[in-house]
């Protein structure tokens, strides 16, 4: 055996005896951990639980809408349900899903680092997330919130429901988000390995970095808005309440000044994930790296300038509305650039339809619809008709679910072997992805037609003429639920039955695939070998390892290996 082969086996062989999951045991070792991987896993369990809860609420809503009149939810209960569904999905699930759950796990390893820059802040962020979620659940149990996730005044001042508890929850969740963002900015700025310049970073890092900028800059506005709303309710300040001389539209400005950039907090990391998946699973260098990287930054910055497009019918002046409409169109361009680049990446690739790739391709399809249906909403004359109808509901579900959730699932399937060291059943994963795709379209496509025919959103009871569309949508929601259950089952079963995953099952060239699966507590037990993140020629298959390893030229042999004893391989 040549020295290079030995070296390889030592470096990239099967998992070492101890990994981050097994290196210490007991509840306390998890609850007080500072390990970014364990925090990521706890986030993952947390956001998936929140997603399951909010998903069940969505199914209940869709069941109720099967008939135009009342089936089993009174108006008031319907309003509470859609509020909880929206608020939990947005604040507790989508915003932390990719950055906090996947990002925490992947970002430091992608940088070849041991951890994030501030591990304690990272744990604090997790506990803030837990605390905020707890407040939400309190508000649900004791005094059901019925304002919608938007908390529009003056209704949120008038209603007797738990606006204060819920806003406190949002306030705390906001800080969780800020902490994660701050951590990521510092980590990316200071902890890149020597040789990884900005333009040699994987695109997921660009996306997470742009997201972090928005999180740090926009979330404080939400916090202030929440505080003002609480002050308004408790002290009767008269900022938003027209009865006291306040202006309810001002609240909408404040709210959307955060919540529109928040839309990009949700979608940018998803775009980053897709850039990775498309490239790796077609073994092709990503097309137009720089355009994709710059478009992430462009989206992050332009995202701050378009909040007014949520308020085209709120009575703003015409000049303001024209300006917001024009700016809104400008965001369409960087988004379109990304889609074109992804498709161009496929050209002359070597494409495998692995489960993550199935999700990535359905992302392009669904995000395409979600993005293009944004055009009639940004166009003023059509928006007046479509605003606050099911067209908007369908549009943002295509972006948030068809975009972010699908990318999250794709990313989860992509990095699952890395996280838990197990391969899942590929056929089962593909089946889940297919059913999710069908169910999703069946659920939300009819809502576009309902919307353009004039069905307003947030209606507990509706005009019988829309019944057929609602029924198709409900059937689709059940299908979607089944698809997601299959995906979840496939992942969970892999933990018991899955075969051991090699360090690099996908022939990916980013650094997180150079450490073992699952990684050890210290992530890397050897020096990293830094290649271009999309140079797939630097990777080769190694039979003894059962996975892919970097090509080692004798000259490039790592000079020092931190661990003197040879690693036992099984």
């Amino acid at each position: 055996m040549s020295t290079i082969a030995k070296q390889k086996e030592k470096l990239f062989g099967h998992a070492p005896e101890e990994n981050f999951l097994t290196e210490s045991k007991g509840w306390a070792s998890w609850l007080f951990t500072l390990d970014h991987k364990r925090i990521g896993i706890m986030y993952l369990i947390g956001v998936m639980s929140a997603f399951t809860l909010a998903g069940i609420l969505a199914l209940i809503l869709r069941m109720e809408l099967f008939i135009p009149g009342e089936m089993f939810l009174s108006n008031q209960n319907y309003n509470r349900m859609f509020t909880l569904h929206g608020a939990i999905m947005v604040f507790v699930f989508i915003i932390p899903s990719i950055p906090a759950a996947l990002g925490n796990f992947i970002l430091p390893i992608m940088l070849g680092a041991k951890d994030v820059a501030f591990p304690r802040l990272n744990l604090a962020s997790f506990y803030l997330w837990m605390g905020g979620t707890f407040f939400f659940i309190l508000s649900m149990l004791f005094n059901a919130l019925d304002t919608g996730w938007t908390f529009y005044t003056p209704y949120s001042i008038q209603t007797s429901s738990a606006v204060i508890a819920a806003t406190t929850g949002v306030f705390i969740l906001g800080f969780s988000s800020i902490f994660t963002g701050l951590n990521f900015i510092v980590t990316v700025n200071t902890m890149r390995p020597p040789g990884m310049t900005w333009f040699k970073m994987p695109l997921l890092l660009w996306a997470l970095y742009s997201t972090a900028i928005i999180q740090v800059l926009a979330t404080p506005v939400l916090a202030i808005t929440g505080l003002l709303l609480m002050a308004e309710r408790i002290l009767g300040l008269g900022i938003f309440d027209p009865a006291l001389g306040g202006d309810p539209v001002l609240f909408q400005h404040f709210f959307w000044f955060y919540s529109h950039p928040a839309v990009y907090i949700m979608i940018l990391p998803a775009m980053g994930v897709i850039s990775e998946l498309i490239s790796v699973h077609s073994q092709k260098k990503i097309f137009g790296y720089e355009f994709i990287a710059y478009s992430s930054i462009a989206i992050a910055l332009l995202g701050f300038l378009v909040w007014g497009h949520h308020m085209f019918t709120s009575g703003q002046s015409e000049m303001v509305i024209l300006i917001f409409s024009a700016l809104t169109f400008s965001v369409a361009i960087p988004s379109a650039v990304k889609v074109f680049n992804w498709v161009a990446t496929l050209y002359k690739g070597s494409i495998t339809l692995t489960t993550p790739m199935c999700y990535a391709l359905s992302f392009i399809f669904l995000f395409g619809i979600g993005g293009l249906t944004g055009l009639p909403l940004g166009t003023l004359s059509t928006d007046v008709h479509l605003h606050d109808t099911y067209f908007v509901v369908a549009h943002f579900h295509y972006v948030m679910v068809g975009g972010t959730l699908i990318a999250f699932l794709g990313g989860l399937f992509h990095w699952w072997p890395k996280m838990f060291g197990r391969m899942y059943n590929e056929k089962g994963g593909q089946l889940g992805a297919l059913i999710v795709f069908i169910g999703f379209n069946l659920t939300f496509f009819p809502q576009f037609i309902m919307g353009s025919r004039g069905m307003p959103r947030r209606y507990a009871k509706y005009d019988p003429e829309f019944q057929i569309f609602h029924q198709i949508s409900t059937i689709g929601a059940i299908t979607l639920g089944i698809g997601l259950a299959i995906a979840g089952y496939v992942l969970l079963m892999s933990l018991y039955r899955g075969k051991r995953a090699p360090g690099n099952p996908w022939a990916a060239s980013t650094l997180e695939f150079q450490c073992s699966s699952p990684p050890t507590f210290h992530n890397f037990e050897h020096d990293i070998i830094l290649n271009d993140p999309y140079d797939f020629e630097s990777i080769e298959y190694d039979e003894r390892v059962g996975g892919y390893v970097p090509v080692l030229e004798p000259a490039e042999e790592p000079k020092s290996v931190p661990q003197p004893e040879p690693v036992e391989t099984t």
């Binding site: 498709v343 050209y347 605003h387």
Partner: protein, 415 residues
């Protein structure tokens, strides 16, 4: 294409085109749709083609191809921008037309006040007529001055492609030029036995599009079990002035009960309170046989009614001072009204027997003249009980008054 036929009767994707600007909205939408479809097919067609053509066969690594192409990338960055500019300009042009009322509509005598409240609509015409049905004249542009009594609402008529939020504390405006008729006779048909059913067409649909609370989905044009339309939008083929035929109500020419029935609809009471056996809405149903039952408030206070006068006093206070006594199980969300004694007489007569017009206690039928006499009598009764009530208020402490100042300020500001 049936998807977006530019026909007035609507298409698969759009309702009837009821206003002068509806056609432009639909055609703008179709314009965006075809452009979007083109890009969607190109992107996804290429994606599917590449996935099939470049499926991994034997070799893992693909053949070499460029990883970027500046000209191509600049092209697909800049060219879509031109299309977007066209979309923006056409959309803005269509929008400005929808927002700026033409001379003909922009006058006091062509302005209809739209007042939204939880949970209903009220329209005030230039001559002072008040209705809960919106009556418009074909080809006569009118301007709406829109306001709200309480929360945010949104004035949305889908056939007109018209939407404007109703913001408490300020006015917003919109205008429309209806180009299609919808008369009551088109929307209701009566067979020879006098049975009422839905007509060939529905009136134009008014809906609240901004979430406003429990009754949000009831603030819409809806066919009801009793054979009437709630909040319909009618367009008549007549001049604007001739609309008074549909909007005017002469209180002196009608019985108390009839006046009450009119007010009950015109002030949108019907949005929250169903009559007799109809499906429960957000407020208590009005059933003649339940009126003498004792009432319990949310705080546990019980009201008993020893005689009709006490009961009628209770009704009148519940209308004009709705926050005073909140019946257990119902939210405190009824807006404050300021009905005159005569109007109250009518409402009480109607509410006590909402199913059908009855003879009053003296045995006289409530023909107009008798109604007037009765009104005088009841008015006295109410005045007397009012002073009683205010005395007892002072004695019980200020429990009832606490809720009042805020809501009265509310209305003062907006009046």
């Amino acid at each position: 294409m049936f998807l977006f036929s530019q026909a007035r009767e609507g298409s698969f994707s759009f309702p009837t085109q009821g206003s002068s600007f509806a056609a432009e909205v639909d055609s703008m939408y179709a314009f965006i749709f075809w452009i979007s479809l083109f890009f969607f097919i190109v992107i996804n067609g290429l994606m599917v083609y590449f996935v099939i053509k470049y499926r991994r066969k034997d070799k893992r690594l693909p053949e070499k191809s460029p990883a970027h192409h500046t000209v191509l990338e600049l092209a697909w960055t800049i060219l879509p921008a031109f299309i977007l500019v066209i979309m923006f300009i056409r959309g803005a042009w269509g929008y400005l037309e929808m927002r700026n009322p033409p001379e003909a509509a922009n006058a006091v005598e062509r302005t209809i006040d739209v007042r939204a409240f939880k949970y209903g609509w009220q329209f005030t015409y230039p001559n002072g007529d008040i209705t809960s049905e919106l009556h418009l004249a074909k080809n006569v542009p009118v301007r709406f001055r829109i306001s709200s009594r309480d929360a945010l609402h949104s004035f949305f008529i889908r056939e007109f492609r018209l939407k404007m939020d109703c913001v408490p504390g300020r006015y917003t405006e919109a205008w429309v030029n209806p180009i299609e008729t919808r008369t009551p006779s088109e929307t209701i048909s009566v067979d020879e036995n006098g049975n009422v059913s839905k007509g060939e067409k529905e009136p134009f649909h008014l809906q609240c599009a901004e979430y406003c609370g429990e009754g949000h989905s009831q603030m819409r044009t809806e066919w009801k079990d009793d054979g009437t339309w709630a909040f319909p939008v009618y367009v008549h083929d007549c001049s604007f002035d001739e609309l008074t035929e549909f909007t005017t109500w002469d209180f002196d020419q009608n019985s108390n009960w009839k006046n009450g029935e009119f007010l009950f609809k015109a002030y949108g009471c019907v949005g929250c309170h169903a009559i007799e056996g109809a499906a429960q809405k957000v407020g208590p149903n009005f059933r003649a046989d339940q009126w003498r039952v004792d009432r319990r408030s949310a705080t546990g206070e019980v009201k008993t009614f020893a005689n009709d006068a006490e009961f009628e006093t209770y009704l009148s206070r519940s209308i004009n001072y709705s926050t005073e006594f909140i019946v257990n199980g119902y939210p405190n969300q009824m807006p404050k009204f300021e009905f005159s004694p005569k109007q109250l007489d009518g409402l009480i007569a109607f509410i006590r027997s909402p199913g059908q017009e009855t003879v009053d206690e003296t045995g006289e039928t409530t023909d107009p003249k008798a109604g007037e006499a009765g009104a005088g009598k009841e008015k006295q009764k109410i005045d007397a009980s009012k002073s009683d009530e205010s005395k007892s208020d002072n004695e019980d402490g200020d429990a009832a008054k606490v809720a009042e100042p805020k809501s009265s300020k509310n209305t003062e500001k907006k009046e």
